[in-house]
Amino acid sequence: MPQTADTGRDGHSAGTSVLSTPAGLRTTDLLSIGDLSAEEILLILDTAEAMQEVGTRAIKKVPALRGQTVVNLFFEASTRTRTSFEIAEKRLSADTVNVAASGSSLVKGETLADTVRNLEAMAPDVIVVRHAAAGAGHLVAKLCKARVINAGDGMHEHPTQALLDALTIREHKGCFDGLRVSIVGDLLHSRVLRSNLLLLKALGAAVTVCAPATLMLPEAARFGVKATTSIDEAVDGADVVMLLRIQLERMQGHFFPSLREYFRCFGMTTERLRRAAPDAIIMHPGPMNRGVEIASDVADGPGSVILEQVANGVAIRMAVLYLLAGGQGG
């Protein structure tokens, strides 16, 4: 739907000048949401909106990253995230390479350092890294000249997930300032939580987190969020309810007694949702455990934007690749 040129919209960077307005990211790698200022986060969202349109064309390709080599270095299997990045890279005309490496430096095979050094010898422009260890992206960035995008490092962060969550929220809610966001699930081990926390706080949202005491985010107050072990309190008046995946292995660490108990006390049901704001949206980074953190009718219900999140993933990743890989001159 045609807009009048560059009129500002809440959350948009309203530009009045010509295409020569410089815009880009100061950071050379995206390892953490903390690498971005609030303005840069909004720039990524705006750019992603423009990228969404490319996905509606018959020829879903633009030459922006033509001739650039992007390596998807995945140490953890993840079809969904890797596919999303791959599609984003191909839509920008980049040459993509998928490297599925062995688990870690100590598992039989090459160390992370040697894998990266070998890749570096082939001069990739961008490396997208997914690894089970926090800080793996930092190590990759230290060892190579390529731009590094963190696609998930252990329990630390998953920046593009938080960005696509933010794009989805903005499409429904417009504005972040004072928006009431509640995040429920295994907070202790969640990288999606950490990235989302940083992003939502940077944009001025009011965040509440909820989990059993055993899975609570340590020092929640220092993160600037309200913490509660009561699901009802967390959902009360929320504009956005974000559910996080419960990993079934957590039962081994005595974090909670059973999945059934978890669902009874913390699962998101239609009943519990009644306390939320009338047009609250329900989010989940996927993959979902239906009947554990989220009831099926909520996942498939009217407030659920879970599939939009997935669609937005490609546009966000295109935006990040475009903004990072630009300025690579010489």
């Binding site: 295409l19 815009a23 990211l25 423009a50 349109e53 922006a64």
Partner: protein, 180 residues
């Protein structure tokens, strides 16, 4: 800062171009206007309104952002990228006569990028070009079909087009370019 086109002149020029378009095309049925961001867009819209008045035809109008097709960014990116905005072309361009609209024609690279972009959208029957100002110094074999004003310039000068949709008034001024 000499004003080379006043508000009146801009208005008359756009009206004149609209008439030229009508003259050259027996039927406006297969026509579509596509404005190149940023200032090509309001000019395209004004043309569309003028055509509706003159020929009583609603000519579909689209918006094209060519940032992702620019060759200067891809090959010699210097510093950060320009802000990317949405391309909005709600109609099929297959078999249509597309009239591309931009404010200033200079090296021709923007138009080359626009042609690349359009090819990705479909197969138009023909593409024509409207520019408000042609300032010379072409680096590619590109020419405009409709020119508002031919304005010889030196490389040190810069042409600033102001439109009331974006700034506060219509005018075209010639400035000495600041040292880059």
């Amino acid at each position: 800062m000499p004003v080379v086109m006043s508000s009146d002149q801009v208005a008359r020029t756009i009206a004149r171009i609209a008439h030229e378009i009508v003259e050259r095309h027996h039927s406006l049925g297969s026509l579509a206007l596509i404005g190149i961001r940023t200032r090509g867009v309001p000019i395209a819209r004004r043309l569309s309104e003028a055509l509706a008045e003159i020929a009583k035809v609603d000519v579909p109008t689209g918006v094209l952002d060519i940032t992702l097709y620019r060759d200067d960014l891809m090959r010699h990116p210097v510093g950060p990228q320009p802000v990317l905005r949405r391309t909005e072309i709600d109609f099929s361009i297959d078999d249509r006569r597309i009239v591309l609209v931009d404010d200033v024609l200079y090296t021709g690279r923007t138009i080359r990028a626009a042609l690349d972009a359009l090819i990705d959208f479909g197969r138009p029957r023909a593409i024509e070009l409207v520019v408000l100002v042609d300032r010379g110094h072409r680096e590619l074999p590109i020419k405009a079909d409709y020119v508002g004003k031919n304005l010889p310039t030196s490389l040190q000068e810069s042409v600033q087009v102001r439109l009331s949709e974006v700034e506060d008034r219509d005018e075209v001024v010639l400035e000495d370019a600041p040292d880059s």
